[in-house]
């Protein structure tokens, strides 16, 4: 028995700390990063930078933009004009249209040359926009909230696997309601006040004055749209995020192939947009109009956005409990993406 106790004591003397992991064990070097997203347009932008290996990064590392890259950009095999416009960006001019094959080859000093190819996809029309107000339970505020539900309809191309992104553009107006009666003229500063306080009189002349407007890409509440993989109540309860990179909501046609489908996109009714100018903030709450943009993506572009979303939202992976997605790239020997896309949009529908 005594021996056992000695043995146990000896073991406790062997108590060790956890292992150190050096960042220098990550064996990688600088790579050329190229982003370029050609569409049906006469101007395309290309960003060329050097990557910074994480083991070398400090706050003092300069921006690794490349201003003297040798770029060969071809549309259907024909070279396009390229102009450096600063901060690692290049402007490519030349008309591009759907179905064009785009390729590039980029070289920069000290780095292996990189290349990529893509095709601008066919556009898919989206139309019949509507907007109505609905009530939904909102997990963030833990209460029932009013939402504007914007719908729009499109027909997927049959027999092909198509990849999409949808964006909801909000045009917010600054303005007022001008009411002119027999004796006087007065203004309501916003529609809500007008609707609550104005008692219609046939003799009045009501004018909606739209002075100025701003555009924003809205954050969509996906609870009414299964295609956009809405977050479940359980995940919401546990605080898992489900953000889309720069509010581009991606989906594919696996479950709607060849069908006509109506998207249901919710946006909080009372959301306010404005502009900060120095110390002042100007809100644009007089009125809103919505436009749905349907973006047809190449598979590479879709998977690239998907990987960015997964990396940003995967809290489990941050704790080693789930598989994290690698960042997708189709740039050979480098990083970044050459991703073709084309967009179609609905008319503006006013709230």
């Amino acid at each position: 028995m005594q021996k056992i106790i000695y043995f146990i004591l000896l073991l406790f003397m062997l108590v060790s700390c956890k292992d150190d992991i050096s960042i220098n064990t990550i064996n990688n070097s600088e790579k050329l990063v190229v982003y370029c997203f050609p569409t049906e347009s006469d101007t395309t932008y290309m960003q060329v930078v050097r990557s910074v290996p994480v083991k070398n990064y400090t706050n003092t590392v300069d921006e690794k933009t490349i201003d003297n890259a040798e770029i060969n950009y071809n549309v259907n095999g024909k070279a396009s004009n390229i102009e450096y416009i600063g901060k690692g960006f290049y402007k490519i001019t030349g008309l591009q249209k759907k179905g064009d094959n785009i390729s590039f080859n980029v070289q920069a000093e000290g780095l292996p040359s990189v290349s990529a190819t893509t095709t601008i996809p066919e556009s898919v029309n989206i139309s019949e926009p509507t907007a109505k107000e609905i009530a939904l339970y909102d997990q963030n505020s833990e209460s029932t909230q009013k939402f504007d539900q914007v719908t729009a309809t499109f027909t997927d191309t049959p027999n092909t696997h198509d990849y999409y992104a949808v964006r909801l553009l909000v045009k917010s107006y600054d303005g007022y309601v001008k009411v002119s009666s027999k004796n006087e003229t007065y203004n309501f500063p916003d529609l809500k006040t007008y609707k609550q306080n104005y008692y219609p009189d046939p003799a009045d002349t009501v004018t909606f004055v739209y002075q100025d407007s701003i555009y924003n890409v809205a954050e969509i509440n996906r609870s009414s749209e299964d295609l956009l993989s809405p977050i479940s109540e359980v995940d919401d309860n546990f605080g898992f995020s489900n953000e889309s990179y720069q509010n581009m909501y991606i989906f594919d046609d696996a479950s709607i192939n060849g069908k006509t489908y109506t998207l249901h996109l919710n946006i909080l009714s009372n959301i306010s947009y404005g502009v900060s100018t120095g110390t002042q903030y100007k809100s644009y709450d007089f009125g809103k109009a919505y436009q749905v943009q349907l973006i047809h993506l190449t598979p590479q572009y879709y998977y690239f956005l998907k990987s960015l979303n997964q990396i940003r939202n995967n809290d489990m992976a941050k704790y080693g409990l789930s598989q994290i997605s690698p960042t997708v790239s189709n740039v050979t020997s480098g990083l970044g993406l050459l991703g073709g896309w084309i967009t179609s949009q609905t008319d503006w529908v006013k709230k």
Partner: protein, 884 residues
């Protein structure tokens, strides 16, 4: 002259008679050696020791010389083991399994079949016991019902029945007709030596590769994490198995996923195999009788999963006496009770395990809430239980029926009661309740019937129910004085369930000692209901009332049917083959998948102590667990292959060599290559609960290649057992949609070593130690830091950001994992003859903080560094068991 010759002849004859008369038997010589040389002999009572010893006198010889001389011309072999001399029949005589020569076959006029069961003294059937005819060496093994059948020639046979941990038993059987005989063996924990060549289930002797059998004694070692002996954690020590996330019951066999293991409890499949997010496995070790674990050469009778089969059989219960045990552990307690309902005919076995931490947590939270000045009252309660109950009735020697019930459940409830006051009159009361519960209910009705001495059958009716349920409710009440100003109610409920109804018919036919034919048919009607949802919210204030409710459900009924046939053929004393086929059919939504999976295993045994094996198996899997985590979460759900997917399938090639250099040392080496196709992985979810509505359109289809080598050794001397295993493996996967090249699996542990020792220190103290080492798990960490683009145009922007780039999945290996587990049992027998066991266990005894994950973080100076997260220290635990 003639007279002289006659006198001489008479003299010689007399002398020889005198010598013969004076010659002692070998048994007497052994007795003499025992007394004179103070050595002990261990031998089977059946050894022919009463033959005369005709050699030289042993008096002036050393012990080895004396033993050499004593057994020189006999069939007995000896080995010296300290003060013990082990005696046994020479191997070539004793245990070779061979075909009688042609001449012998000509001589045999009639063959008769000896059949029956191997049981312990309490009537418990023994699985994988060896039955052997000592004269011919012909042998067979009991099946999962403890049944055996061996056909021998007419005449008297000395039949031995042996089982690990039990004394051998021999019976003289005079075969003039078919005979039914039950062997009743007596447990003996103090057997000094296991004769491996006498155990047909040992890796040296079986035809299958990659089979490991575990008895109760292997699971209930002296070490138990958090004081609860664990079946899956025992399997994790096997070579070729990765354990996954620390502390959990992960079972990644030959690179396979956690859902690729077929868990059977008394023949009924189990979907949820753990409690407390994987901390405990769902099997109560008190009732486990035997576990057959296959990771390579799967026999044709098993199918439906790609990577392993874990066939757990529970005890039937004592037919003669009432007895049981209580155990109180650190987090859980258990009760096991068994006995006869009708003595010798009907028995019951009941096992209940329950965590008891909630018994402390409820009053602890109540006290805290009472003493706290906060307006926020919190309650949390968690418990799990599992219950095993079995009733067995023996109608007669040919018929037996048993009903086995398993119920396991985890429950987690939280309640948050919050009161906020604003000013003097406004009050807001918010109550949030969450209820999780998940578990299994399994029922198996088994009928065993012996049609003839050579044909035995099992008929099994199965019901399986698996559920995972979550309900959340939130009530908010706003009051201004006594007036209710606003009242909101929100609730949502989530439920995933599976109901399986099915039957299994299995036939065991042994036409001759050289053929063991198994055939049968399984049918299961699956009803998968992943993620049935209900949501309701209402808001009632002074001006309006809004109520919203939504519900959705998913339904996947499917039918699965398989037929199989296999024959274990003993070709001759060197060669044996197990060939079989498993044909399966799976029907869902009008689409039917059919698959034929051939199985083949062969063994070549040039010497009794050396065998070589090879096997080829293919497997098909029609059900999948959708999960986004390496933990076992209640939000995971099972779904069937649908009409737009392919069933997962794999093939595996295994070869091995098994060597017994000494009687107590068995070494085996196996190499394997496994290729899996149509592996599924949920593609786009990052939360806990991937949506089930379109799951089959959101999964990625990929493949895996897994190969490696496993070295196993076990050594037993006297009261000490040492086991070791080493695995060298490569596990790679490829999902084109995820990453276009092959990448290493998270649990691609290149090297794994497991060493365990079990030591009966004194009569009342025993110890167990297990040291595990493996290469670190893989993780994905970022390698580059780059600006991020503005989409969709890629235009320059003032608000551009930079972020990490993850170039390759699982691109980084965590530091090596190693830990030592220790456990001690202290036994005491009370004056009422009740055994009491006090157990002390230490998980991670030398407190090595093993890495769980790592992340790249930034220092204030901007440099990045890798932060290693390791949290599990030494975990001591205690338990107290009373056997009655």
């Amino acid at each position: 002259m003639k007279l002289r010759k006659c006198v001489l002849l008479f003299f010689l004859l007399f002398v020889s008679l005198v010598i013969t008369a004076k010659a002692k038997t070998m048994r007497q010589q052994i007795e003499w050696l025992r007394n004179e040389k103070k050595i002990n002999f261990v031998y089977d009572s059946s050894l022919p020791l009463d033959r005369p010893y005709k050699g030289k006198s042993l008096k002036k010889m050393t012990i080895p010389q004396a033993l050499q001389s004593l057994f020189a011309n006999s069939d007995i072999d000896f080995s010296i083991n300290g003060d013990y001399i082990m005696l046994k029949l020479k191997t070539e005589v004793k245990f070779s399994i061979h075909t009688p020569h042609r001449k012998e076959q000509h001589d045999i006029k009639h063959n008769y079949t000896l059949s029956g069961f191997a049981e312990d003294v309490n009537g418990e059937r023994l699985i994988n016991a060896t039955i052997q005819d000592m004269a011919t060496g012909l042998a067979t093994m009991t099946n999962s019902s403890g049944f055996f059948s061996i056909t021998l020639s007419e005449g008297t046979h000395n039949i031995r029945c042996g089982y690990i941990g039990f004394d051998d038993k021999q019976e003289k059987v005079n075969l003039k007709s078919n005979v039914h005989l039950n062997f009743i063996l007596k447990e003996n924990a103090n057997i000094k030596e296991i004769v491996i060549t006498a155990d047909l289930n040992s890796p040296l002797m079986t035809t299958q590769t990659g089979k490991h059998s575990f008895g109760k004694q292997d699971v209930k070692t002296e070490f138990a994490l958090l004081s609860s002996p664990d079946v899956i954690k025992t399997l994790q020590r096997s070579s070729g198995v990765a354990s996954g996330v620390e502390l959990t019951t992960g079972l990644y066999v030959h690179g396979g996923n956690n859902d690729e293991n077929l868990f059977l409890i008394d023949g009924s499949p189990l979907y949820q195999v753990n409690h407390a997010l994987g901390l405990f496995s769902a099997f109560n070790s008190d009732v486990v009788k035997n576990i057959d674990f296959y990771k390579g050469g799967f026999p044709a009778r098993y199918g439906g999963r790609l990577s392993s089969v874990v066939d757990v059989r529970t005890d039937d219960g004592d037919l003669n006496h009432y007895h049981g045990s209580y155990r109180l552990g650190l987090l859980d307690g258990s009760l096991q009770f068994e006995g006869p309902i009708r003595k010798g005919k009907t028995s019951f076995n009941f096992g209940l395990r329950r965590s008891w931490i909630d018994i402390l947590s409820r009053p602890a939270f109540a006290l805290y809430n009472k003493s706290s000045s906060s307006d926020d009252k919190l309650n949390l309660c968690y418990f799990f239980h599992d219950l095993n109950a079995k009733i067995t009735n023996i109608f007669n020697n040919r018929n037996r029926m048993s009903l086995s019930v398993y119920s396991g459940e985890d429950k987690l409830n939280t309640k948050d009661d919050c009161n906020d006051s604003y000013g003097t009159s406004y009050n807001d009361k918010d109550i949030t309740k969450n209820d999780f519960n998940w578990g299994n209910f399994n029922m198996a009705l088994l009928f065993e019937h012996q049609f003839s001495p050579k044909l035995f059958a099992n008929f099994n009716a199965i019901y399986t129910y698996n559920i995972s349920k979550f309900k959340s409710q939130e009530d908010d009440l706003g009051k201004h004085g006594k007036d209710v100003t606003e009242q909101t109610h929100y609730e949502h409920e989530y439920k995933s369930s599976i109901r399986d109804y099915g039957y299994r018919m299995s036939f065991d036919y042994r036409p001759s000692p050289h053929h063991h034919i198994r055939f049968g048919n399984d049918f299961t009607w699956h009803f998968f209901h992943p993620q049935t949802r209900y949501l309701m919210s209402s808001c009632d204030n002074s001006t309006s009332k809004d109520t919203t409710s939504m519900s959705s459900k998913n339904n996947y009924p499917a039918r699965e049917c398989s037929i199989y046939g296999e024959d274990e053929m003993i070709i001759n004393s060197h060669w044996s083959i197990n060939a079989g086929i498993n044909a399966s059919l799976f029907s869902i939504h009008g689409k039917t998948f059919t698959n034929i999976n051939p199985r083949f295993a062969m063994k070549y045994q040039p010497f009794d102590n050396l065998s070589f094996k090879a096997s080829y198996t293919s497997m098909t899997q029609y059900v999948h667990k959708i999960s986004n985590s390496f933990l076992e979460l209640p939000t995971d759900y099972w779904v069937p292959t649908t009409e737009i997917l392919h069933p997962m399938n794999s093939w595996q090639l295994t070869t091995g060599a098994y060597f017994l250099p000494y009687n107590n040392l068995l070494i085996s080496v196996e190499g394997y290559y496994k290729h899996s196709n149509h592996l599924l992985q949920y593609a786009s979810w990052s939360g806990l609960e991937p949506p089930a509505a379109r799951w089959d359109k959101a999964v990625m289809d990929g493949e895996g290649r897994f190969y490696g080598m496993e070295l196993d050794a076990s050594y037993k001397i006297s009261n000490f057992l040492l086991r070791g295993s080493y695995t060298l493996s490569w596990n790679q996967r490829k999902y084109e949609e995820f990453y276009p090249k092959w990448y290493f699996d998270k649990f691609d542990n290149r090297h794994k070593i497991d060493l365990s020792a079990r030591w009966q220190i004194t009569h009342s103290i025993s110890a167990f130690a297990d040291w595990t080492f493996h290469s670190g798990n893989h993780i994905t960490i970022p390698t580059q830091y780059v600006p991020m683009p503005n989409v969709p145009e890629g235009k320059p922007s003032e608000n551009s950001t930079s972020d990490f780039i993850y170039e390759k999945p699982n691109n980084f290996m965590l530091p090596n994992y190693h830990r030592l587990d220790l456990g001690f049992d202290f036994h005491h027998v009370t004056k009422h003859n009740h055994e009491r066991i006090f157990n002390v266990s230490f998980y991670n005894a030398y407190c090595h903080f093993n890495s769980m994950y790592a992340e790249v973080k930034q220092k204030q100076d901007g440099h990045f560094y890798i932060k290693n997260h390791a949290y599990i220290p030494v975990i001591p635990s205690f338990s107290y068991t009373i056997k009655f």
